[in-house]
Amino acid sequence: MIFARGLVKRFGDFTAVRGIDVEVAPGEAFGFLGPNGAGKSSTMRMISCVSAPTSGELRILGMDPVRDGTRIRARLGVCPQLDNLDPDLTVRENLTTYARYFGLSRAEGRRRADELLEFVQLTERAGSMVEPLSGGMKRRLTIARAMINEPDIVLLDEPTTGLDPQARHLLWERLFRLKQRGTTLVLTTHYMDEAEQLCDRLVVMDGGKIVAEGSPRSLIERYSTAEVVELRFPDGLDLNADYAAKLDGIGERVDPLPDRVLLYADDGDAAVAEVQRRGLSPSSVLVRRSTLEDVFLHLTGRTLVD
C-alpha cells in the first residue's frame, strides 16, 4: 500500500524527515510514534500527496505521488491533526460537499453521508452547524469525512489529541471497527496507549529518523522489560540520581527521572523486595506492565513531552 525508501523532506535549511524507510501492507494498522517535531506530520503530508518529497522514493498504492497525486488522493481518506471542517456548512453538508470533490453524485453523497453520520453517531446533529459541536464530535465528523470516498487507506494525524477519555475511547472503538472492515489505517500519535490499542506495527520516530520498528509487543520485549517499578522518594527530586546509584543491580536497568526512579525488571515484586532488603523506603511504589512509553524513554533517553 505504502512504500518509502530514503524519504527526505526539507523546508529550507530545516530537515524534517531524514531518510526513512517504511512499508505498509494492506489491512494493516500502522503507526508513527514520536514527540512533536519528530517528523510524523511531514511524513503524513507526503503520504497524503499534498507535499512533495525532497528526495527518496515514495510509492502509494503503487503510484508516484507527484505524478499521480490526483488519482492517489481519490483513494485516500485524510484526517488532519487540526480539524479543518467547513464552518459555513452544516454537519451533513460537510460530508455531502466533500463527496462532490471526489466526483460522487449528489444522491450517492447523501446516501453515504447518512450512513457515515450513523457510523460516527452524529445523526442527531446532521443539521447543526459545525461550531457548536464538541471536540470529540468534530473529530468524529472529520473521520466520517475522511471515509466518504470509501478509501483504501485512512490517514489519521494524531486522531485523539486534545480529546477527553470518553471521546477517545469512542473514537478508538470506531477506528477498530474500520480496521475490522479491512481498511488500512496509518496514524501518528504521541500517546503510547493509543499506539498499543490500535497499531499492528509501528515505527518510533525521533528527530526525523526512525529509531525502532516492530509490533507494540515486540518493541516492549526488545527495548524494555516485562514490568516496571516506579519508586518515589520523600526527599526525591534532587536526590533521585543518588537513589538510582543505591538501586544499581536490581532488575535490568535503573532510570532516574526528575520526579521518580524507574526500575526495569521482569519480576517487579522481586525487585521491590530487593529494594526493601537494601533498607530503602520509597514513599510510593508502583509495579506496572511495561508500556511503549518505557520503550520511548529507553530509545531517546528522555520522557515524552511536547
Binding site: A74, V78, L85, E93, G103, M129
Partner: protein, 274 residues
C-alpha cells in the same frame, strides 16, 4: 459498471489535470454555504447597495447641479454618464469581495482549502471554482443594477443587454486578480491597502468625470489602471457608442483574467502544498 465508468473518467481527468466537475464542486461548496446561514446573505446584500447609493446621491443628486454633459460629441444627463461606471464598479467590488476577503479567510483561518486539497481537487481547480463563484456573485449585482438603470431611464434596454456580458468579463478580470492578491496578503492590515487602492480606482477611473478633463499625465496614468478599461467598455456598450477602443479594453480585461488565474494557482500551490 457504473463505478468503472466513473473511475475511468476521473483517471483520465487526472492525466489532463483539470476537471470541470471538480471546479463545479468548489462552486457547489459556496452555494451550500449560502443556503446554510444568514451571515453570508448579509455580506451579499450589502455589497449591492454601495454602488446604488453612489448612483442615487452623486449621479442623480449632484447631477441635478451639473446638468447635461457632452462627451465625445454625445450629450447625456450626468446620471446617465455615472450609471455605467457604477455598474462596472459593482461588478468589480462584487468579485473582489468574494475573492479577497472570503478567499483569504479560507486560506488563512478556516483552512478550507487544506481539506479540499486532500481530495482529488487541485489548486488550479480551486482557483477556477472560486473565480466562477465570484463572477456569479458579481453578475447578480450587475443584473439587478442594470434593471435599476433601465427603470430610471439611464440606459436603453438594448444597451443594458449589450453591457451585461461585459460586466461578466469585468467580474472575471477583477476576481482573478483578487484571487492572486489574496494569496499574497500577509494579514488583515493589507486589506486597508487594498481598499485604499480600490477607492482610488473608484474615484479616478473616468467614473465621475471624463478622463479627458484631467491633465495629460494623469490621463495616461489612469489609462494604465484596470477600472478605467472596465468603465469605458461598459459605458460604451450602455450608450451604444461602439469603437475600436473597446477591443483594447476587452483585451486588457482578458489579460487580467489569464494573469490573475495563473498567479493565483501557482501561489496556492506554493502556500498549501509545502
Amino acid at each position: 459498471m457504473l463505478t468503472t465508468l466513473t473511475a475511468g473518467r476521473s483517471a483520465r481527468a487526472s492525466r489532463v489535470g483539470f476537471s470541470p466537475a471538480r471546479v463545479g464542486a468548489v462552486v457547489g461548496r459556496n452555494v451550500g454555504a449560502l443556503r446554510s446561514g444568514p451571515s453570508y446573505w448579509i455580506v451579499l446584500v450589502s455589497g449591492f447597495f454601495e454602488p446604488l447609493l453612489y448612483l442615487l446621491s452623486i449621479g442623480v443628486g449632484v447631477g441635478a447641479l451639473v446638468g447635461d454633459l457632452t462627451v465625445a460629441g454625445r450629450t447625456m444627463s450626468y446620471a446617465a454618464f455615472v450609471a455605467p461606471a457604477m455598474l462596472a464598479v459593482s461588478a468589480m467590488s462584487g468579485a473582489l469581495a468574494e475573492t479577497t476577503f472570503n478567499v483569504f479567510f479560507k486560506i488563512k483561518y478556516a483552512k478550507t482549502y487544506e481539506a479540499v486539497l486532500a481530495t482529488p481537487v487541485r489548486p488550479v481547480e480551486i482557483a477556477f471554482g472560486e473565480l466562477t463563484w465570484a463572477t456569479v456573485r458579481g453578475s447578480l449585482y450587475t443584473a439587478i443594477f442594470l434593471g435599476v438603470m433601465v427603470a430610471l431611464g439611464l440606459a436603453p434596454v438594448g444597451g443594458a443587454l449589450a453591457a451585461f456580458p461585459a460586466t461578466i468579463l469585468v467580474g472575471l478580470a477583477f476576481g482573478a486578480v483578487g484571487l492572486a492578491i489574496s494569496t499574497l496578503m500577509r494579514g488583515w492590515q493589507d486589506f486597508d491597502l487594498l481598499s485604499t487602492g480600490q477607492f482610488a480606482l473608484f474615484l479616478f477611473s473616468g467614473t465621475f468625470s471624463p478622463v479627458q478633463d484631467y491633465p495629460a499625465w494623469m490621463e495616461v496614468l489612469i489609462q494604465v489602471t484596470p477600472l478605467y478599461h472596465a468603465v469605458e467598455l461598459v459605458r460604451g456598450l450602455c450608450l451604444s457608442a461602439y469603437g475600436v477602443g473597446m477591443v483594447g479594453h476587452a483585451a486588457y480585461l482578458l489579460a487580467m483574467v489569464a494573469g490573475g488565474l495563473w498567479l493565483a494557482a501557482r501561489r496556492m500551490e506554493r502556500l498549501l502544498c509545502r
